[in-house]
Symmetry: C5
Subunit: 335 residues, 5 copies
């Protein structure tokens, strides 16, 4: 269900340098180009696709003055979401989540973000399009992002990740809703394994979102100079969003649990129905068949067999027995 | 089960301006009329029905000096309940809940409230009558609301919303009570899907009430000038009410869980009953039918068949077997 | 299960005024008599039976200087337990619980207490005898209550309520203990609905006791002048008692849950037993009956039928089959 | 399962007075003897067996200067574990637990401890040997206890009680381990009621140990002069022990829960096995028996009966049907 | 499942003394050799294999100035993980965990660590290779460990232990993943006891890791001089790792719980399938067999038997009944 093995052996850099008036974009930039823009007061954003190129990450680390442990955390794709403050930058580890159309498959990607005073580094495992919307907004020169500093850009990038959580939880939620209809109306056609898959998807979401909430809260409350006072309102808003995702995940989990109980109950119910049918048919016909068997015996001396009305008396007795049993079942509420 | 798609394309404004002595009410007011009353010391309440009219909300936002993010939160109907303090106003997001007669359907509506020093804005998704009771109290010139300020009006509006929670939880509670009787007295007629629907209703209530508690607590403890000291006692009372709703929701959930267990147990019990009946009948008659079958075989040489008393001996043997089995079942407590 | 509708339309006042040396008791007192004793340094206790007499409560409220919201809380019988401090008095809302002999019915009553400097007001929904033990202690002139102030009287009244919780939880506990024996020794005779009733009773207790704990803790820590320093030790003791009730309720709940699991398991076990019996009998006799059926066919040419030993060979074959099946069942551990 | 009714009507005192060099032990001491040793700087330990002798406890209370509520707490055998500090002494209430060999029976005893500056009072419900190990260490003149003060003696007594918890939890743990083997290897022989008894035993342990942890933590952090600074390390160690007992109890509970689930699953599994056997046999033979029945009918005109090969054709048809059904069962994975 | 009995009667010491430039390693060192290196500013690491050699541990304790309770904690292999600060050293108790290939067996080992200013003592129950990787890094003269002090060495040793947790949880996780496939695709072949074993393994991990988190957090926050400021970043990193292990354990537990539910559901489902097959076959053939039985009776006067078409009419009636039953099953969705 989870896919964690894709690796880009050679990473590629995507450089965007902008302020309110100017914009400079280089796809497939070199490290030198990136460092060239660093001292300027414009916002410098370098996006790195492919975190398995250890040499490049170390070179970037030296160029941007990163602690060796930060470089390790960038490359460690099983790192939990966290926020680390260093004297000259802040480090954010996050998880990107993508759920496919049928909510059966969850793709988890490790995303790192480094926020300096006038620069932002972002690291993706893969060439993804999660930040494409942010790039579009920068290019269009409209929107708030061009007029704000590096911290607002970092906020936009994290916001883009959290927006993906919404997408994921909504997709799963929609499938659960469909599943709900199924269980209530046609439990016979339900594949119970689906519930297990949804649960695993929600589990993956939880593992990503719960620590993300801590991360955003820590940033919103951080006293670091990197986070400008007037952009705190945005972080608080992002915090609200992560709480809302958690809320939705928990509600989906509760709904799923209730659905599972309902499914099991209706299964039990149907089993009861089946067993009752079997029992009624068996209980009525087994004694009758026994009587027929008795008069099918070949003893030479069986007085009833020679009676003129014997056959009809036996048929009548059978009928009476059957009717009595039916009445008895009625009384017990089985019919 | 949830309905979230109704939209009023064009919003309508309902203006009420009052103090202890005067009352001014305009249905379908213009923005200009609303802003005209703003500077006066009287309490100005503008109720907006329809939050999807983005243009109007932005115009209102500019007129009343609202932050752009507040305007976004008003229009975002999936916003969680929250309390945000701004320098010149406070923002409350809430959820209105309505449960239909049979407790099968829950309607959720996003309600926003903005509390200024002498004015209150309220936003509904739809033309609803939730605030009609407050309007009636204002018009009647009696009651506390005319003599108090804008914060007391805001309290009344929130109180009206919380009163709807009571209604909702009581309606679900009553249905659960009815359901309870059913399960205990006539489990065969129970529709287990009901439990799932109740659970979803209670889940929706929880999602609305738990954050509402935080909101009310935050307002009660707020040090903002908007909340007058002498009206704090009312907020504390409202807090008590939300806690009570939570209490009722949790109790209903626990009752429901216990009911579900009871239902499953009685289902198992009935299954046991059914299987025991089948087993007793089968176990008694299957061996007897076998014996009858044996003497129904057509072998030319079967000595018993020619015995004078053969038939009666076999019948007696069958009777003895049947009686022994009945005794055995008695001993095992099955009869 | 819960009874909440009894109302006394006309309330009656019971006045007791005492100090260490004197005692004044008036059954069916007038409001005037009550207020007459108020200014004296003696402890004045007015017990009001019947909280639905709104006029009387308002009159009392004015006489004793109560806030309008306190009067509302007294009359609101669904008010949660709470402790509210006002400048001149403290307000306690509690729940009285009575469980009938068979632990099937729980009666919940709203009890309010108002503690002034030298006076105590208590409000019952009904004419009950919960405070009779306190009255007896006052009348007997012995015991601590005569020598202490109003706060100790309030403690005694609350202690009497908590003592009723002990009674309730013990009564339910005893029934669960009996039930326990039943489940372990004779699960066939168990009525599973009992468990549901016990659970509801414990749920009612929890709803009453958990907030009661908060109330008592708040009073014990209160810095109000109403609570004398030397009586704090009694409130702490009362706190211990409420914690102990909670402990007992939770233990009963856990025991009940374990009992329910055990019951279900033994049900499954019995079902297994039943099914095994059916399967063994059926599996042995169905093939034999088939063989008998084969030789009961009326084909003109069936060579076996004419064999001299045919009948006995078939009987022997049947015996062998039956024995083989018995051996097979033994091997599988079914016999 | 719990035994709480044993009472010693007449209590007996056991006095030990010691310091590093001297030792004075009186079995069946009088109150006077005990008080005689009180003022001396040696450690005076009085153990009281039998807490139902109210007169004696009151006399002791007066002699040692105990608060009346302490005396009540000593006699109240349902008192929860707690630590109360008074100006001149500290009061500890504890629960002693004994589990019998088969872990079926749990004996709970109320133990109280009073720690003065140079004296310790201990109260047992019964004449027990829980403190015998401590006495032995005092008598042997070796070990730390002779050289330390009263607080170290109190620590030793509490340690002896906690050691009994270890014994109890280990005994239950061992039985669960045995039970585990049973469930995994021979679920048919398992008595499910055992699980219920283990759960009740662990519940009793929890009720005793959880508050005990609070008690020990409170003493370790207490700023009272009664607890010497250099003995705090022992209290911290005792705290570690209680946490470890809790840990073991919780692990046992989790193991038990998992075992119960496994048991139920294997029960379901076996039921499936049983039902499959029944279904396979029935489904193969019921149609065959029907065919045999058809040709056992006595109609005068049944053409097949006169065919020369009729019998063999029918046998062949039966064989084919049986084989087809076997193939079908194989395909479905039932065989 | 757990192995706790291995003991090395005679312990062996492994001494490594190093600084940035020099390295001194003695396998099977004497206590004297160890103490000889103690005063030097180089880092002295003594690893003791075998904690049951009480005499040696006491001798070490005296040589290195350990508190008697520390010596007890080293030898007590059931000691919970903890961090104790003493004036001249810090004591860490940990659990080593090893899971075998099939994740069926968990080996738990008690590991103690003592951190002095320039020396580290480590204690293993057994001759293990858990610290071999650290030794290799020291010997290779590369890596950070040679250049740092004793606290960094202690960090490396604890890190090696936590790395084993990752291994353990990953091994169990992989087996659960395999198990998952089994349950979803071929539930008939699943051994439910596996789930119980995984749960016990995860329980053992939890018991080791949860308190380990506290330990690492306490060290990271410790104000002791033993922990240098510049090595705190490593402890924080270790803390992240323990949290991650906990995360993985909890996720595995949730997955396991969901798997168990899915397994039970699919078991119920299959049972339903089996019962439906039995019921359909029985319900169709039992009435037909009865009819055949009736016409197999030997009454002398049974008019139908003499009818020319009697046989064929009966066959036709049987066919009609069978078809009607098939239609009825179709309607109920059983076919």
């Amino acid at each position: 269900m989870f896919v964690g093995e894709r690796k880009l052996e050679t990473a590629s850099l995507h450089l965007i340098d902008f302020d309110h008036d100017s914009l400079n974009e280089v796809v497939g930039a070199t490290l030198g180009q990136c460092l060239h823009h660093l001292p300027s007061p414009t916002v410098t954003w370098v996006n790195v696709s492919g975190v398995h190129d250890v040499a490049l990450i170390e070179a970037l680390g030296q160029g941007f003055g990163l602690h060796p442990m930060t470089c390790e955390d960038i490359a460690n794709t099983s790192q939990r979401p966290k926020w680390d403050e260093f004297p000259n930058y802040g480090f954010v580890a996050m998880k990107m989540l993508e759920v496919d159309e049928t909510a059966q498959q969850v793709k988890i990607e490790h995303v790192s973000l480094i926020l300096g005073d006038t620069w932002v580094l972002s690291f993706l495992e893969d060439e993804g399009d999660v930040f494409e919307s942010v790039r579009a907004r920068i290019r269009s020169a409209s929107g708030r992002v061009r007029g704000h500093g590096a911290d607002f850009l970092a906020f936009c990038l994290m916001d883009a990740v959290v927006d993906h959580y919404f997408l994921a939880v909504e997709r799963i939620g929609d499938r659960i809703e469909m599943f709900d209809d199924h269980v209530l109306n046609d439990p016979g056609q339900v594949e119970i394994q689906e519930i297990h898959r949804f649960k695993r998807g929600l589990l993956a979401l939880r593992r990503a979102v719960w620590p993300m909430r801590e991360v955003v809260a820590a940033i919103a409350k951080s006293e670091s100079d990197l986070i400008r006072t007037d952009s705190r309102v945005f972080w608080r808003d992002l915090y609200d969003h992560t709480v809302q995702v958690i809320d939705m995940v928990e509600t989906s989990r509760d709904t799923l649990a209730s659905l599972h109980d309902t499914y099991l109950s209706s299964l039990s119910n149907r089993m009861n129905e089946v067993m009752k049918t079997l029992t009624i048919i068996s209980t009525i016909f087994i004694p009758l068949t026994f009587i027929a068997g008795v008069y099918g015996m070949n003893f030479q001396y069986m007085p009833e067999l020679t009676w003129r009305m014997g056959y009809f008396v036996v048929l009548a007795v059978m009928l009476v027995i059957a009717l009595l049993l039916v009445v008895w079942f009625r009384r017990r509420g089985w019919l």
